[in-house]
Every structure is written in structure tokens, then in C-alpha cells.
Amino acid sequence: MNPDPDPQAAPAFLAPGFRLFEGGATFLPDALRAAAATLDPVATAWGSAILCPAGASVQRVLAGLLAAERQQLPLLLARGPVPDPASGLSGRLPAAPPPGPGLTVALSTSGTTGPARWIWHDWQRLCGRIRLTPPPACWLLTYEPASFAGLQVILTAALSGAGLVALPPQGPVSALCRILAAAGSSGDTADHPPITHSSGTPSFWRAVLISIPEQYRSGEEVGGLPALRHLTLGGEIADTPTLTRLAAAFPAAKIRHLYASTEAGALFAVSDGRAGFPASWLETGIDEVSLRIRNDILEVRSPRMMTASGECFGSGLNLEAEPSPSGPRLSADGWLITGDQVRQEGDRVLFRGRADSRVNIGGVKVWPEAVEAALLAVPGVAEAWVSVHTSPVTGHLLTAQVVPLPEQEPEALRQALRQALEPLPAAARPRRITVVAALPVTLSGKKQRS
């Protein structure tokens, strides 16, 4: 059994057997090191740093990590829905990194509620929960590379010398179908080894269940998904029907779902095939994490939460490390108030959703008010509001209705609305915007036509 990565070491973290399969190309460690050697630092107010621009590929992120390690500089991983080639940054630069040994990485949020914010992670925080998966393991990456969840998968594969197949974050399931179709049609060998490990949101897995044809789930081993041995769900509430259907579709896989809070980070994993977590953990805790319920909200306490200076880092398996605008909330006795509503039902504690208005759309955390504000800011709009729907596919979904000013030309307005939504993450952009003559009245219980 291989030792787990040493959290104190600044590693040469690309183990020899590592292979990256991305965009139809294969990258070996030497090629990645060569790419890293071409990266020059950027200047910030507090010193030099290596920068990966928004929308960076896995290849680019790995080159950035290697360059930062070699040049002993911090790494900035920018995010955002629209890559900005000029500055590569979707917001202001972060403040200076905290002192400490080893590689430090700043991850940027996508800024649904304002300018992008940055969160620093040190090597301990990046790798503290990683368990090595030696070859013949091959990981399927479904998350955006410059996210904490994405980095967890990338670093696990890199440290283990395993394979890593990267899907584009826009339309990962469609890309997966194309990869599987290409593997199937090229005979009995694929470009990459059989995929054995994968982590994705429940929405991703539901889309996989909808789309992946039967023969890739219960037949050929090479290049397809049936070799899946470890299947992880994270970033959204995992419901029991999805877990049950995944167990039926991937009978050889160990399935677990992760719970992470924005401020406390990755807290625990559940592997018993049921949603929520065992109520007994309220008594015993799990994995050094204490849990309790106050006012129907889950509160947690974990030694991983706080740094020595008492600062709370967001370090979890979140697709969007998006702290709430008011910051982390602590109870009087020092427990973190997660803001997640829970309900105990018998031997189980189940997640019901957020206490605030934040919704989770396919793993992306969105504040509907921010979307509404973007629409209201468009000239020509008299009134706008955003409706939240539950969705069996993505958990939640936004649609919007807009009342135009008199004399406003509808097609020009649609264009303007689309442009106003462009800076937001794809999941936060309502796909359906209905232009209506007036606000539908719903309080009196009158039925509405859509």
C-alpha cells in the first residue's frame, strides 16, 4: 500500500506513470515540464506569481503548478465564464498569500454576487484528504480544472502516477459520449486506459444515466465506463434515487457522496448508498468533525476549519468556493453555521436545501437576486424577476420574466438581456426569458397561464 502524500513536502508531484488525456492529445510528464519552463511570472503588488488565465485547460493548470513549484512562487488560478485574454483575470488580484512552506495556490470564485474573490490554499489544504490511487487507475475529470474539486482530482492522479482523462467543463456529458463513441469505433483499444475512478456532481451523473448508451455501461471493458471502480458525487445534494440508479448502472463501483460546506471545506463522505448521513453521527461525529442541528440548520466543528490565526479558509470540495456575502457565521460557542437546512428522519439526517436564497444548479451556487439585478439593470426593462424551479436534472433551474418599457423593441431587448447575462456562469443564466406584458399575480391563488 503506497504511503499517502506528505503534506509538508513541496513535491515533484508528477509521478512517472502519469498521463493526461485532453482534447484528443496525450501529455506525458516531460511534455508538461517543458510547457512549465516557458511560463514567466506576473508582477503583483506583493511580488511575483505564476498565473493561469480563466478557462485554462488541465494541461495549462498542470504547467502552472509545475512552474510555481520550480520557481517557488505562488500560483493564481483565475476562473470566470468568459476568458479574458488581455489580463486573464476576471477580477482584482488577491491580497498577499499567507506565509508558510510549500506551494500555495489562490483559487478565484466566479463572482455571482460581485467581483471575483480569491481564497488561498496551501499544500496541506490541497492534499490533506488525498488518497493515492496507483496504476492501473485512470481518473475521469468532470470538474473545472481551476476549482478545488478539480484540483483534488488532478493532484490525486498526478501524485499517484495514474491516468487522467479531462472532459471540457462545458458540456461534459456530450464530450464523454463522443469519447466513448470514438473508443468504441476505433476497435478494441482506446487512447486512454479504462476509466476506473470518477468524481462529479449528482447532476453530471444524472445526465450520464440519461445519455450513456447501454453498451458502454454493461459490455465492453476497454475505454468505457464499466470498469468504474470508484464513483464519487460532490457539490450538490445527492438524492437516494440517483444513488440507487448509479449502483444499478455501475455494479462494480464503490459509490460515495461528499458533504462540504463553503467555509469549513470537505467534511465527510457517505458510502452506504443512502442520501444524507446517519443520525448516529450527531452523537459520535465523523472523521474529526462534530455535527449538530440547531433551528433545523446543520452546525459543524472541525479542527480543519480554522487556521492558527483564527481565519477561516474555504477549502472544501466546492465547485464554487463562494462564501456568502456576509461571511462565515459562527455560533456563540464556536460552531460553524453551515446554512444548510437538514431534517432528521429516523436513523437518517437529510439535506433539505439552503436557509438563504442561494440555489445549487448542477453544482454551481447561484444567488437568484444577483441574476435579477443584472436583468433589472438593462435599459428598456421595466420589471424583471427570476423564478426558481426544482429540476430532476440539475437540482434547481432559473427562468426569468421581463416586463419591457413601453415602445421597447422586443428583439433588441432580448439581445441586451443576453449580453447582460454573459458575465455570469452558464448555470446562472436563465435559458428561458419570457417577455410579458405585466407581472402575473400569484398571491391570490389565481391559476396562471405560462
Binding site: Q170, G171, V173, S174, A175, L176, C177, R178, A181, S203, F204, R206, A207, L209, I210, S211, P213, D239, P241, T242, R245, S357, I361, G362, P368, E369, E372, W385, V386, S387, V388, H389, S391, P392, V393, T394, L397, T399, A426, A427, P430, R431, R432, I433, L439, P440, T442, K447, Q448, R449, S450
Partner: protein
Amino acid sequence: MQPPPLPATPVPLSLAAALALVVAETVTLLREKGEPVPEIAPEQVFLDGTFPFDSLDLATLIVTLEQKTGQDPFRSGLRQFRTVGELAALYATPHS
């Protein structure tokens, strides 16, 4: 923030009518995205990588279908469907 508009009273739909509705709403979504609209057969797979549809489009389609038919075949969770025809079949029988 307003609650979403309430759906219409559930209306029984024949399979042909449900299929026509699913195709019509899929076409509307594609047009709103600015995508070219191909011929949509009942065998068309939504998320197969060749059709210009992703999970968010599919989620929006399902919300629209609920609003138009008053039916929610997914109220107990996601049910299996891959194609346009299979989704239409879920709306073809009235649910109480």
C-alpha cells in the same frame, strides 16, 4: 423574488400530441439559443454530443413542459429517458 407561475390544469395528451409538444418546445429553445434547428425525430437523443443541447437546456425543457401540461412525471425523482420520443411518452398519460 416571486414564486413561479402555477401550471395549467392537467390535460390528458395522446402520444402524438405529447411528441408534437416536446418537439415544438425543443425547437423554441434551440431558436432562443441561436442554434440552427435540425429535423427532430423521436429517436433523437438529447445529450449524445451531436445535438446542440446540454443539461441546462434539458432542465429548462422539462420546466416548460410542466408549465404547459400541468404534469410532473419526475415528482418522485428522475425517470429514465434518452430520446425525444421517450420524454414525450412520460407526458402521454395523465398523472393525478
